[in-house]
């Protein structure tokens, strides 16, 4: 299908919205009625047609507006994009991976023409047509990682692999769930995950690291993570928390359906060929509670998950104070009926709300 790109904002007047198409394909993260951290990883080899899992790098109706928002974040704070000196080759690897994937997966939107190291990249939605020399930084307006991630939705961490460990040595991070690249850069896998509750004790990070170290080129993996955000604010950074934090207190029983968003990250893992680095794209999808409630199964399930979530997780994810109001709202959409297994909305088979 051809994508109609929304003209929308993720700040100030928050004109962001999801079309019916976007709601239907929203990556609802709960495959059952409860949630706990787990090593929830699977192969990233496509998925149902039209789903966010189908392509290597999903492009959707928010693409153009998200890239505009990223440019604004970077203009305000260039430290959101950093690459330690030894990571430039990995940046080229990433540029290649994205250009090849997008031009193959979306030939109507992106074109890549290669003649040896002379490359021409056409990005129609953003109106870009650039010719450059692959592996020659002087021929691009930014470093290779910054160049391509200014044109790709989602945050990117580029991890150097050495001493059987992953190191966060480069990244483009403007749509993060409240963590700072500038603070975390140079840390190893256990260090940057240090603030996460319960998961270290469960051995989750040890097992996850082992899995990641063994990811092979051409065999990417993926997982989902989620949190809650008041207003469709992409840039929930710690840097600006003193400015946006207050928005969490603006929820009321009247506006919660439209203001409260479930924030889901589709996280993928790709091995890069020349540098042997691992790239970790973190793609953020937002959906308001009221839009989620149009899927009866999701309504029933979200209520149960939020209700039963351990206090440690609700605190870490930053919505412990708003949980009671969320539950008042969500309980209206839970009639106690059982839900079908799996994340899909199952619109045809799940009964409408019996309330």
């Amino acid at each position: 299908m051809t994508i109609q790109f929304n003209d929308e904002t993720f700040r100030d007047d928050y004109s962001f919205y999801n079309s019916d198409w976007a709601i239907k394909r929203f990556p609802f993260p709960f495959h059952e009625d409860s949630y706990m951290y787990a090593v929830n990883m699977e192969q990233h080899r496509g998925g149902p047609e039209g789903s966010v899992y189908e392509k290597r790098f999903d492009v959707d109706e928010h693409y153009v507006s998200e890239m505009r928002d990223r440019a604004m974040v970077l203009a305000d704070d260039p430290l959101r994009c950093q690459s330690l000196p030894h990571m430039t080759l990995a940046g080229w690897d990433l540029l290649e991976l994205i250009m090849v994937s997008k031009s193959e997966d979306y030939p109507d939107l992106f074109e890549l023409h290669r003649d040896g190291n002379q490359w021409r990249w056409v990005n129609k939605p953003l109106g870009i047509d650039d010719t450059f020399t692959f592996l020659d930084e002087t021929t691009l307006p930014y470093g290779p990682m910054e160049y391509i991630t200014r044109q790709t939705q989602g945050d990117f961490c580029v991890l150097d692999q050495r001493d059987d460990m992953l190191w966060m040595d480069a990244g483009m991070v403007t749509t993060q769930a409240d963590w700072s690249l500038d603070f975390d850069i140079g840390m190893n896998f256990f260090e940057w995950h240090a603030p996460v509750p319960l998961a270290h004790e469960k051995g989750i990070f040890k097992r996850a690291l082992k899995f990641l170290l063994n990811i092979q080129q051409g065999a990417p993996a993926r997982r989902l993570n989620w949190t809650m955000t008041v207003n469709p604010l992409l840039d929930t950074s710690p840097e600006n928390y003193h400015i946006w934090g207050i928005q969490k207190t603006t929820l009321t029983p009247e506006n919660i359906g439209s203001k409260q968003h479930l924030r889901v990250e589709l996280q993928t893992f790709f091995r890069l060929p020349r540098s042997n680095a691992l790239v970790f794209p973190i793609r953020c999808y937002l959906c308001s509670f009221q839009d989620l409630m149009t899927m009866p199964k999701w309504g029933r399930r979200l209520h149960r998950v939020v209700r039963d979530l351990p206090v440690e997780l609700a605190t870490y994810k930053g919505f412990i104070d708003n949980r009671p109001m969320m539950l008042d709202y969500l309980s209206q959409f839970d009639d106690g009926l059982p839900t079908s297994p799996g994340v899909w909305p199952d619109q045809e088979t799940e009964p409408p709300l019996q309330k």
Partner: protein, 200 residues
Amino acid sequence: MSKFQFPESIKSRPVYGTLEPRPGKAHLFVADAEGAEAILDLAAASPDLMAGAHIIYIPKGTDFTEKLRDLNPAQFYEGPTYAASVQRLRHVLENAHQGLQVYLTGTEGLMGQAQNEAMQAGIPHTAIQTEHRGSVARRMQCVHCKGITEDVITDPFVCAHCGLNLFVRDHYSRRLAAYQGVCIDAEDPGNVPEPVELYK
């Protein structure tokens, strides 16, 4: 006693040991305040070390200098501040021969910053030891304005640069040699709890 047992913490928080004599021709000590006591203890156990020792010491208002001098280290330097001493430290590290042993002791801020210098100079981490002594004050980075506030002893505290009220996290960056400070009253402006001394 200048030793403090830090409570268990998260994985980014550094852990410190006890300085031990290591074989080697050259021994570089970087210490502030009560860190002097760790050097005195080490020298009492292995007096031979001092013939190859270079001590860089920042007293921070304490009076251990004479005792350290009496150890007769090969070189002794007293600096008024860490910032004033860092050029000398870099010079020593850059001109170090293989096998240099590095001993860092005193406050967390001093050890963290000197450790960074040593790593950047290519000293293998196996040749660097740390021992915490004295103040449990922390070197804090404000995540909002990025300014560093030295010697923070209460939680919350006021950022020395932007003036926000920050709470003290255990999340620690070795690259910055600092803990992270985050606005405490963002969701309830003006509601700042009374500062409490760290670990109290």
